[in-house]
Amino acid sequence: MTLSKNGEIGLAVLLVVLFLIPSMMLGLLYGESPYHVVPGEPVKEAADAAGISVVSVKGTLWNLTGALGGKTYVLTDPEGDTATIAAQAFDSADSRDAAVRLYNTNAPGKGRQIGSLIVVGQYLIYATPANSPIFAKLAPALQQAAKAQS
């Protein structure tokens, strides 16, 4: 099979497009998280709804531009699993999104990020370990809270 000069250029364009397809498709599939004010304490409310106990709560202010403060929860479920989940509010979409970028930047080497992060309105909610069963139980309620207000 042979290619004309135009065919070769077409192959190069196809290569560029191939790289952009996954990024663009994923962007469309998952959508952006709009910035809006979610009232109350979404983590505590989700934990209560899922029957997960709060072992301790501590106020935290992250050393990031636009961080307004939040709480770090240590949670435990009836199976005895524990997880640390931190919620931090941000004063704008830009500062919140900068924190999301920082999170992605912190991934060691060429591996995946440590912990899990979801965006709920003005909050970033960060859980360790990434695959904690507790966070798996909370995540649907948190994502619902994010959608309900948007």
């Binding site: 099979m1 190069a12 994923l26 069963p133």
Partner: protein, 479 residues
């Protein structure tokens, strides 16, 4: 591809400018990153256990495999040349392309690191400005591409100086501060050291981290891409592998522990980017004035890290094109021997993905999937390299290898087997979705589909390959 005594290939003039130190620094630049330390310090003493796992299942095997393969087949193209010997052009091209394509998805991460670290030296709030972020990312990306344009000599000098100033010196500084902290009787935030404390917790929750730890040392094969410019590859490659592995492991483990003993674990979370951790560290040590200069050094370290990944695989792809496996469009080299067409296409694609990354950052789930694709593509590269190491001992047992893995065929099976096990397991756990993904199937299919799309172009190119793609030598002969 033919190579004459002067190291000239048919199309790319190759000056023999690299020695032992330069080769070692290429690997150190690709692997050693201050970016990793705070993230790993979260694990306290158990980070030692995680590093041991990473060393046994990846760092040591890839260093030994790289040393044997690079001395046995000291040709341009690195992983391409090695895997091609074992599995033919399809295998070699696929391995190289996966190494190149995973970079394009990963570049925004390191570019964002460069921009946000530089912002810390200027005005930290700049990191929240997407236009600042994108501008600096593009300057770093295209600037590094420009350095690559001027060929191996300039790139090597930049890499040698940059990695010392931007990665090794900051790491040593962190280690010295940790030692000072210990020596001056300050409070240690870690419990007393014990063997039990160093054993990592491995369960379903922490298993996805396994893929990260295995690939923490990815890049040890980077020097192999520069074989044509190496003065004495048979002698220098093994020693460069050993030297770089030693520098990387010492700096990584000690600097991580230095951070872990000083900064409480609850400060080492999302809130602690590298610079936030450094700021905490330096404030505690009473040298807050050094935070800004340190940010500049670490920014340079980020650029050097970017440069090593940007240049190596692109050079490899240039050689694949020169061998007639890609259309002549990809086979453009300049007078410095740099593969300009590949560099340009790489820069265009990387810029477009960076644009999405900066302006759609809260699409976090999407980015997680892209990260997972990076992991899967890299695993494909290393699975092929370890498999090639084993196969070549059977298919080409008599090829002279100035460095051979000790222990004969059993030694090769142990080294290759450990590497294969580590990277295959990393591939599998790389498919595990994080807890918040509502549909695990969608996640797995997305990652596999994306990985397939970014791994399949070599098969398309080889399908259309024809003799007209071979570069003509000055005398008019097909090389």
């Amino acid at each position: 591809m033919s190579e004459d005594a002067a190291g000239k290939t048919s199309g790319i003039p190759s000056k023999k400018v690299l020695g032992l130190f330069a080769l070692a620094m290429i690997n150190v630049a690709a692997v050693l990153s201050i970016r990793n330390f705070p993230s790993m310090a979260i694990y306290g003493w158990s980070c030692v256990g995680w590093y041991v796992i990473g060393a046994i299942l990846f760092l040591i095997p890839i260093s030994l495999a790289g040393a044997e393969l690079a001395t046995g087949w000291p040709e341009g193209g690195g992983v391409y040349a090695w895997v091609k010997q074992a599995f033919g052009e399809k295998g070699g091209f696929t391995a190289l392309f996966c190494e190149w394509s995973n970079n394009l998805v990963w570049f925004p991460t390191v570019l964002s690191f460069i921009a946000s670290t530089l912002a810390f030296a200027l005005t930290p709030s700049l990191a929240a400005n997407p236009w600042y972020m994108f501008s600096v990312m593009m300057i770093a990306f295209w600037g590094t591409t420009a350095i690559a344009y001027f060929g191996e000599e300039i790139s090597a000098k930049f890499s040698n100086i940059g990695v010392i100033i931007g990665s090794i010196i900051p790491a040593v500084l962190i280690i010295l501060l940790g030692l000072w902290w210990l020596g001056s009787g300050q409070t240690l935030v870690l419990p007393p050291i014990s063997l039990g404390a160093m054993v990592p917790t491995i369960n379903l929750s922490t298993l996805p981290f396994f893929s990260t730890i295995v690939l923490l040392f990815a890049g040890m094969e980077m020097a192999g891409f520069h074989a044509l410019e190496t003065r004495d590859p048979q002698k220098d490659f093994p020693r460069a592998m050993a030297l770089s592995a030693f520098i990387i492991i010492i700096c990584t483990v000690l600097a991580t522990l230095a951070i872990a003993v000083v900064i409480p674990a609850d400060q080492l979370n999302l809130a602690s980017g590298v610079m936030q951790a450094i700021q905490y560290f330096f404030n505690a040590a009473g040298i807050a004035w050094l935070v800004g200069p340190m940010a500049l050094l670490i920014t340079l370290g980020g650029v050097v890290n970017l440069a090593s990944w940007l240049i190596g695989p692109a050079k490899g792809l240039g050689i694949v094109a020169e061998e007639g496996n890609m259309p002549p469009l990809f086979d453009r080299t300049n007078k410095y021997g740099a593969p300009v067409a590949v560099l340009l296409i790489q820069a265009l694609i990387g810029s477009a993905i960076s644009l999405l990354y900066v302006f759609l950052p809260s699409v976090n789930q999407a980015y997680w999937i892209l990260s997972a694709m990076t992991v899967e593509l890299l695993c494909i590269v290393y699975i092929l390299v370890f498999a090639a190491l084993i196969k070549l001992r059977y298919s080409q047992p008599d090829t002279p290898r100035p460095f051979t893995i000790p222990g004969g065929i059993a030694g090769v099976w142990i080294v290759g087997g450990l590497g294969l096990f580590g990277t295959a397991l990393a591939f599998v756990v790389g498919l595990m979705p994080p807890a918040y993904f509502s549909s695990g199937i969608t996640y797995v299919l997305s990652v596999l589909l994306g990985t397939f799309l970014l791994a399949v172009p070599p098969l398309v190119f080889l399908k259309f390959k024809h003799p007209g793609w071979l570069k003509k030598s000055p005398g008019g002969e097909k090389s």
